[in-house]
């Protein structure tokens, strides 16, 4: 405040300079003001999840102030975490996501390596094809996939529909194209001299990949892993279509189908379940935010 007053008292050129910095102070204040408004908009649902999850059913139906917890209780958490059904959903989601991450990496790292470094017949077309595949949404493929899986099931006698493991085959279609695409970007940014030196020293392609490319592109690898995990964790349409038995469901589908019994909504438990379901991605995000954001922006800025 005082500096502004001094600036005003100074010669004319300084006044101009002072007005610029005053503009900046005001810009900052307005920025904070609007950011608070937007933060309220963005954070209301998760905060409301938390508030409701701490309420008992009696308090929810009492229609008191919904934004405040008068008698906080952890009973919803205790009930859900001791229910075998909910733990089963959690387990299914975890095991599927972890396997999908491993499968994705095993497919997309070698492919990205080949596409980034080995110019072979059709490599440019394949890279473009990978990117186009990434743009095909799940809602276009769920009906034919449902029939295809049914057909394979009839042909081989292996039960695929209504089994959690079928999702392990399907989810890579969502994760592999994007992971390959961003890995191509990361691999292509590694200086050619590095792997040429390794090749001259007698390293095989495989050694170049494991000794040079993977360690150097580790940030990209982490970003891709996070992406693969969050996509498989959040996927809703495929498990909704391909699995129906309660013991085969994953978290998002399990919560929406089993906790809503007929027309009775047990909101305390639904919100607790949703919050617990949102927890793993949120925790990963909290600890690895920079990698998360790198993965998010890499899709458009790399390549």
């Amino acid at each position: 405040m005082s500096t502004l007053a001094i600036d005003k008292a100074g010669p004319s050129r300084k006044v101009k300079y002072g007005s610029m910095s005053r503009d900046r102070v005001w810009a900052l204040r307005w920025s904070y003001f609007f950011l608070v408004l937007f933060a309220i908009f963005f954070l209301t649902p998760p905060v409301y999840m938390l508030i409701t999850s701490l309420k008992s059913s009696a308090e929810i139906s009492a229609a008191t102030n919904p934004w405040w917890v008068f008698h906080p209780t952890l009973s919803n958490y205790v009930e859900l975490l001791s229910s075998n059904q909910f733990l089963r959903f959690f387990w299914n989601s975890s095991i599927i996501s972890i396997i999908v991450v491993i499968v994705t990496m095993m497919i997309s790292i070698p492919a990205a390596f080949a596409l980034a470094r080995m110019k072979f017949w059709g490599s440019a077309t394949l890279a473009t094809g990978v990117f186009l595949t990434y743009l095909i949404p799940d809602s276009l493929l769920f009906i034919p996939l449902f029939k295809v899986l049914g057909g394979v099931q009839e042909l081989t006698g292996i039960t695929l529909l209504n089994r959690w493991y079928v999702l392990v085959f399907i989810y890579p279609t969502l994760t592999v194209p994007f992971c390959t695409w961003i890995m191509i970007g990361y691999f292509a940014s590694i200086p050619k001299e590095l792997d040429e030196a390794a090749l001259i020293d007698g390293a095989s392609w495989l050694q170049t990949l494991t000794r040079i490319f993977i360690p150097v592109a580790l940030p990209g690898l982490i970003a891709a892993t996070i992406f693969a995990f969050t996509v498989s964790w959040a996927q809703f349409l495929y498990p909704l279509v391909f699995t129906t038995s309660v013991d085969q469901l994953v978290l998002p589908v399990g919560i929406t189908t089993t906790l809503i019994k007929g027309d009775v909504f047990n909101w305390g438990q639904i919100m607790t379940g949703a919050l617990l379901g949102a927890a793993p991605p949120l925790v990963i995000y909290a600890f690895l935010m920079d990698y998360y954001i790198a993965g998010l922006t890499a899709g458009a800025t790399k390549g």
């Binding site: 937007f38 139906s61 949404p137």
Partner: protein, 312 residues
């Protein structure tokens, strides 16, 4: 030892360059290796993406029991149904409105975050990206609870301002409004992050030069920020258009297409027709109508991404 190896490599390379035969040999080996490295990717895309995609065209030409070929009669049947045209209209309204608001909010908030200095900026950015991190199925449940007809926390708050209870999901207009609102809430942080990254890449000197020339804030945005960010804006918008147009989770959980099918999108209607009413050919047919718009958006994205690649 090492010297010898290097020497050998150099000799081999020199000879390869001269004759071309060992080079061709190496290339032959290289392409074999490359083929095996990309084989899993090719198989995955061919079997689980391309094959189903073409299979769905075939499915769309069968009758409900999938026993005989009926040509285009599924398509002509859809054209005669009023619900179909409502779905087309609603999908377009939903996608365009949601993408426009996501882009606008993302652009505005990105500027505010960009104004915040240093460490605090990280904190704000982290906080504002939370909607994008929560799985949409989970956060939509929270919205469903916020919109609850008898216990709506929004209506409770609005009642203090004398605004009557709003039938968030019960009335056609408000249900359409609500699904768009939730989609904007979920998608705006993505735009925010993309635009923030783009803003950071605009050199400060440009703004300083403009400021000295007496440009106001609007001129700075119009003549510096927008041209510099054009590519990112185009890619992000087109990408979001695809994802929003093909959206399933939000509408499925909030309204299941109701009231009276007025909030159905292609994806949710295809699910209802194809899976719930088990008319798989008709469902496949419905979802195929997404293809033209997706294809146009994909072509433009590809053009922009390639352009970007060439610039770099």
């Amino acid at each position: 030892m090492a010297d010898v190896v290097v020497e050998q490599g150099r000799v081999a390379r020199a000879r390869g360059a001269r004759k071309g035969s060992s080079l061709r040999n190496a290339l032959g080996r290289k392409s074999t290796v490359a083929f095996f490295l990309t084989l899993p990717l090719i198989l995955l895309i061919a079997l689980l993406v391309l094959y189903p995609a073409f299979y769905s065209v075939y499915l769309a030409t069968l009758n409900k029991a999938m026993t005989k070929f009926v040509g285009l009669s599924n398509f002509t049947f859809l054209f005669k149904r009023e619900t179909f045209w409502m779905v087309v209209r609603q999908s377009c309204i939903f996608a365009i409105t949601a993408v426009v608001f996501k882009a606008l909010i993302g652009f505005i908030v990105a500027h505010f975050v960009h104004n915040i200095p240093g460490k605090k900026q990280r904190k704000w950015r982290g906080m504002l990206l939370v909607p994008w991190v929560i799985p949409p199925a989970m956060s939509t449940l929270a919205w469903l609870w916020l919109f609850d007809p008898s216990y709506s926390a929004f209506n409770y708050t609005l009642s203090f301002f004398g605004v009557g209870p709003i039938p968030w999901l019960g009335d056609t207009f408000w249900a359409r409004f609500s699904v768009i609102l939730v989609n904007v809430w979920y998608g705006a942080p993505f735009f925010l992050i993309m635009y923030l990254a783009a803003l950071k890449s605009v050199p400060d000197q440009l703004y300083e030069a403009a400021e000295i020339d007496g440009a106001n804030w609007w001129q700075k945005i119009w003549h510096i920020t927008l041209p510099m960010m054009r590519n990112i804006i185009a890619i992000t918008t087109l990408f979001s258009l695809i994802v929003t147009f093909a959206n399933f989770d939000i509408v499925r959980i909030l309204t299941s297409g109701g009231p009276l099918d007025t909030t159905h999108l292609f994806a949710t209607w295809a699910f209802q027709v194809g899976i719930q009413s088990s008319d798989i050919p008709l469902g496949a047919c419905v979802s195929l109508f997404m293809v033209p718009i997706l294809a146009v958006a994909a072509i433009f994205i590809l053009r922009d991404v390639n352009k970007r690649g060439n610039e770099a």
